[in-house]
């Protein structure tokens, strides 16, 4: 893409991302109003149990006695000023609760993503090199297996094997309780706690990326520029790395961007299994307590993260691959 077109492209993408965020806020608003019963009690997060004075106060605050479009306007204004509501159960603002838990989730999903991408691309490349041989078949079988296994069950089985039977790794939390630690000890401790949840979350995507890498590599290997390189006498290893793999990676990265939302959704299950103190665990706790403001906040926050991540991959993609269509 010409350099002069880049700012316009990025601007259009940013506008689109902003529109999606706006749509998510509207979606949240509609959900509160679609819920059976009184919207005020949904906002209070304690259906049927809140006292009348408090509900009256909420009705006034959110203008629940006014027409829907006025209510929507009030809601939009508060969300866009980053006021995601208040959790009366936890006596804290939802924004604060979510922000507190965000780093743990980012660490978990980041580690899982890195593991899945590195492992998946490696396995996929190996399978593509050995089409039809046993290594290829084994990788296909592994991929099929992880497609069909529930994420939370994989987590439980890893706990059973590595924590209960072998006693190698801790089974819950993010750090050891009641132990005084410094510097690298803390990092090592967190890494031990991180290993099983990150493996659980990453294995499914490893299978996905492996299949995708295999397919795109086989496709690219057939193209003319690869034949040219081979005819020129470029060593086979270099053709594979510099010509085939590099071009095959682009669709994998795009796909990874699209799947960011799935990864965050999966982290709810994994965090529940491993009691990992991230927003997934927060969502599970809110679920048990029917704390709707927190649930809505988690939905909003994860959606925004996905939008931001997609924006980022769009940009990277546009810069890396000059052929990307600017019109999109």
């Amino acid at each position: 893409m010409e350099a002069s077109k880049l700012p316009g492209f990025l601007l259009r993408r940013a506008v689109k991302a902003a529109l999606v965020v706006l749509a998510i806020v509207v979606c949240n608003f509609l959900l509160v109003h679609a819920a059976p019963g009184d919207p005020a009690s949904v906002i209070a997060g304690q259906s049927g149990a809140a006292d009348a004075v408090f509900l009256e106060q909420l009705r006034k605050q959110f203008g629940l006695d006014q027409p829907l479009y006025v209510q929507l306007w009030i809601y939009l204004k508060s969300v866009l000023s980053l006021d995601l509501g208040f959790s009366h159960r936890q006596q804290a603002s939802v924004a604060q609760l979510v922000l507190e838990r965000l780093p743990a989730t980012l660490l978990l999903t980041g580690a899982a993503f890195a593991f899945a991408l590195a492992g998946g691309v490696t396995l996929g490349a190996l399978a593509a090199q050995r089409v039809g041989r046993w290594a290829d078949s084994i990788i296909t079988v592994i991929a099929l297996t992880f497609y069909a296994t529930p994420l939370f069950w994989v987590g439980l089985m890893l706990v059973l094997v590595f924590s209960v039977w072998l006693e190698w790794l801790p089974s819950f939390g993010m750090s050891s309780v009641g132990v005084e630690m410094h510097g690298l000890e803390v990092v090592w401790d967190v890494a031990q706690h991180l290993l099983l949840p990150a493996l659980t979350l990453g294995l499914f995507y490893l299978a996905v990326y492996a299949r995708l890498t295999r397919a795109t590599m086989l496709e690219v290997a057939d193209q003319d520029f690869v034949k040219t390189a081979r005819a020129k006498g470029v060593p086979e290893g270099r053709i594979l790395r510099a010509h085939v793999l590099r071009n095959a990676l682009l669709p994998v990265i795009t796909f990874a961007g699209i799947q960011a939302g799935q990864l965050l959704g999966g982290s709810i299950l994994v965090e529940t299994v491993f009691a990992w103190p991230g927003i997934g665990r927060l969502a599970f706790e809110a679920l048990l307590a029917r704390d709707y403001p927190v649930l809505l906040g988690v939905f909003f926050c994860t959606s925004v993260m996905v939008v931001l991540f997609n924006l980022l991959t769009d940009m990277l993609y546009a810069i890396i691959d000059p052929r990307v269509e600017v019109a999109g």
Binding site: V20, C27, L144, Y147, P150, W153, L156, G265, I268, F299
Partner: protein, 281 residues
């Protein structure tokens, strides 16, 4: 039809998948005879390991038979998988047909809408929907359908886009057939094979999604499900591994079978569809 079966049979995995699937259907159909009475009733001593006390797969913390739970759970899993897929197909096919056949502004609007649903974290939305509309089999089916229609809409739109310019469609237009009848009787039957392949994969992901929801305690509180069994075994995994291991194997086998059958269908119907996958969990 014979041709179809011949091509399907050539894929060994698909045949194995079909056999497993038929076994699961058989267990689901005969559950009331295999394990009469409610799967919620106490059947033996709590925490009996598999094989002891006449319990094939052991009992849970309240002495309920895990095997009975799995057999009865198969009914719910298959039912939710099938019904939510049908619901998602209705939404997806309608929207995809409108976008692909009408094109222009309608296409743009539908595709933006579809993109939006593909962007947001679908599992989080499903949780939110079930929680807000209170857990029941209806709300679970509704939530799964809401998050699974986008791939259908995309596939159907692509098929309709390529089919609407063909001669037989133009001929129907010249004959003065109404748009609705062209869509239903001329285009849709020709777009059926990718939809069939996609639906078997959708049933698989719907079963996974349902199990994840009931694992989190969002299943219908009156129905025994595989996800609920695993969820209740989670906190006592040190005491009773069988409570979470066996229901997980049931989910794995069923979903694997559906995926294999999907691949077999794809081979047999030979559609232009690149296998699409979606769904968390």
């Amino acid at each position: 039809m014979r041709d179809f079966w011949r091509r399907f049979r050539r894929n060994k995995g698909a045949v194995v998948g079909l056999v497993i699937l038929l076994l699961v259907v058989l267990v689901a159909a005969t559950a009331p005879w295999l394990y009469p009475g409610s799967p919620w009733d106490m059947a033996g001593a709590p925490f009996s390991p598999p094989g002891e006390m006449g319990m094939l797969l052991g009992t849970d913390s309240l002495g309920r038979d895990v095997a009975a739970g799995i057999a009865h759970g198969a009914r719910i899993s298959l039912l939710v998988g099938a019904v939510s897929t049908v619901a998602a197909l209705l939404v997806g096919v309608t929207l995809g047909a409108v976008a692909g056949y009408l094109g222009g502004f309608a296409d743009d609007a539908v595709m933006r809408f579809t993109e939006f649903f593909q962007t947001i974290p679908s599992f989080v939305l499903a949780i939110l929907l079930v929680a807000i509309f209170t857990p029941s089999i209806g709300s679970v089916v509704f939530a799964i359908a809401i998050v699974s229609w986008p791939p259908v809409a995309r596939v159907v739109r692509a098929e309709f886009l390529s089919l609407r310019g063909r001669e037989f469609v133009q001929a129907a237009e010249v004959l003065g057939k109404s748009r609705l009848s062209i869509v239903l009787t001329d285009i849709l039957p020709n777009a059926l094979s990718p939809i069939v392949v996609l639906s078997s994969l959708m049933v698989a992901s719907a079963i996974l999604l349902e199990s994840a929801l009931s694992f989190l305690g969002l299943g219908d509180p009156n129905l025994m499900t595989w996800g609920f069994l695993i969820g209740s075994g989670r906190s006592v995994i040190r005491l009773a591994w069988w409570m979470s291991v066996f229901p997980g194997i049931a989910i794995f086998l069923t979903v694997l079978a559906l995926n294999l059958v999907g691949e077999g269908l794809s081979d047999a119907l030979n559609p232009r569809l690149a296998r699409q996958r979606g769904g968390a969990a």
